[in-house]
């Protein structure tokens, strides 16, 4: 058999074990869902303490971010994420982890060129495209309002 990139790609596919999708998806669902339940619990907790609902939602998000950053610093978040996958990546905790992990890692290169510059190395694209998408959405929304 003539070995070309195409034929080799087929061999590689056969030799490479696939990711355990069923396990990964269910872990992502349960752990990601668990984080959302925890967020909801914080909202109820803050509301129970007399905080208005909108403020309580913001406070719950901040609490989750704080917890994610603390767990990142304690070398625990990545261990949970190894099992949870998208379950810890998609909620706001994933965003907090990506920034705090980069900040911790690059502090050895100094506070300006290390921590300051590299903190957004993973979260940066999320911010750039998140803001771009929201501007686009806002523009479409405005256009539809003109009709």
């Amino acid at each position: 058999m003539e070995l070309t990139p195409q034929t080799y790609s087929q061999l590689v596919k056969e030799a490479s074990p696939p990711s355990p999708h069923a396990k990964n998806i269910s872990m992502a669902f349960f752990i990601g869902g668990g984080i959302c339940v925890l967020g909801q619990a914080f909202i109820y907790l803050y509301m129970g303490l007399g905080v208005p609902k909108e403020t309580a939602s913001g406070m719950a998000s901040i609490t989750l971010v704080l917890l994610a950053v603390i767990l990142t610093g304690l070398n625990t978040y990545d261990r949970i994420a190894k099992v949870a996958g998208a379950g810890t990546l998609v909620p706001i905790t994933g965003f907090a982890n990506s920034m705090s992990a980069a900040a911790l890692d690059f502090k050895s290169e100094g506070f300006i060129l290390g921590l300051g510059a590299k903190m957004f190395i993973i979260a940066g694209p999320v911010i750039v495209y998140g803001i771009s998408a929201s501007i686009l959405y806002g523009f479409v929304y405005w256009l539809l309002g003109q009709l």
């Binding site: 080799y8 590689v12 030799a15 990711s19 990545d78 994420a81 992990a101 980069a102 890692d105 050895s108």
Partner: protein, 344 residues
């Protein structure tokens, strides 16, 4: 004098001797099946330093000092060091050997660097350019993650084809003499690229290079796999080893029961979360220096082919859409200075 045999192989007429070797490892390596081969183990990933880059430099320094100590020599007795690592500008070698006063030939061959350094040092020795040379390489899980992948604490998942960069360093001291084992021949690898772009499947990227170098060696020397006790690849892992055997079987060489891989030997796949196996310059270097060389010296192995494989990967060009080019260098090591399957 080193002479050319065939198109790719260099034959040593007066085979250089490996007079001593040493290796240094970390916590994961100690907990693996080869945990007792290490001369020094440091469970602190910082090796008492301020950064992981400094830790890796420290590992190279420790490995070279230990190899010299075992041979009863000082740094000034070595004419040249042949060293390299995975990091940009080969900083672990530069800073690790800084202050030792040994002339340095800095090498980069990614994970193939240990074989590359042995090949270059052997030719220098055969040419009479040096009388003693030290070969050293290292890798560190944390420095490699930082340079090639994500920050350490970032929560991500690895696919089953990914490999674990070993935190280890190995050093071997070469000289003229009668002490076993000997470097009998080397085959310098060609750059192979079959279009693999997945940086999480380095074994697949490197297997074609390993297959090509082994085939070149067998053709150049008119030998076959059965002539050797063992063929040890460096860091193909399980996926890459499967592909190597498959590729060579199609070319008429059956490696079954004669090939193993340093990346598969260093860790326990059932208990340690290393997916396809270990990788990194330090993986092949430590298995060679701590395990294979002593086995050859004790005559438990007589003729082996040590072939370290390197994925010459740059995150920049991979992001630009390039595939991962790879290389593999082969060293024929023997417990005997003459005789065996390749007698000229």
């Amino acid at each position: 004098m080193a002479t050319r045999k065939g198109r790719y192989t260099i034959w040593m007429e007066d085979p250089p001797s490996i007079i001593s070797s040493a290796c240094v490892g970390g916590k994961m390596e100690q907990e693996g099946p080869l945990g007792n081969i290490f001369d020094l183990i440091e469970r602190d990933s910082y090796f008492g330093q301020e950064s992981w880059e400094k830790a890796e430099s420290k590992m190279q320094s420790l490995a070279v000092h230990k190899a010299l100590e075992k041979a009863g020599l000082e740094g000034d007795a070595v004419d040249c060091a042949f060293a390299g690592d995975l990091l940009n500008q080969c900083i672990s070698s530069t800073y690790g050997l800084r202050g030792m006063g040994i002339p340095l030939v800095g090498l980069f061959g990614a994970c193939s660097t240990m074989a590359e350094s042995l090949a270059v040092a052997s030719v220098f020795l055969e040419a009479g350019a040096i009388s003693r040379g030290v070969c050293c390489t290292s890798s560190h899980f944390c420095t490699a993650e930082r340079q090639f992948r994500y920050p350490l604490e970032y929560g991500g998942q690895r696919p089953p084809t990914a490999q674990w960069t070993a935190t280890a360093s190995g050093a071997a001291l070469l000289a003229k003499g009668e002490q076993s084992p000997f470097v009998r021949a080397v085959t310098i690898g060609t750059i192979e690229d079959l279009g693999v772009t997945d940086a999480n499947n380095m074994g697949a990227a490197m297997a074609p290079a390993a297959a090509m170098t082994l085939e070149h060696f067998f053709n150049d020397t008119q030998t076959k796999p059965e002539d050797f006790d063992l063929m040890v690849t460096g860091d193909l892992g399980r996926v890459g080893s499967t592909l190597l055997r498959q590729l060579l079987l199609e070319r008429g060489y059956n490696l079954e029961h004669r090939q193993t891989d340093c990346g598969m030997m260093l860790y326990n796949p059932q208990e340690q979360d290393v997916h396809s196996g270990g990788s990194g310059c330090g993986c092949a270097a430590s298995v060679l220096c701590g395990h294979l060389i002593p086995l050859l010296r004790a005559q438990k192995l007589r003729h082996i082919l040590f072939m370290a494989t390197g994925a010459l990967m740059s995150p920049t060009v991979v992001q630009q859409g390039e595939s991962i080019a790879s290389i593999a260098h082969l060293i024929y090591l023997s417990s005997e200075k003459s005789g065996g399957p390749l007698s000229c």
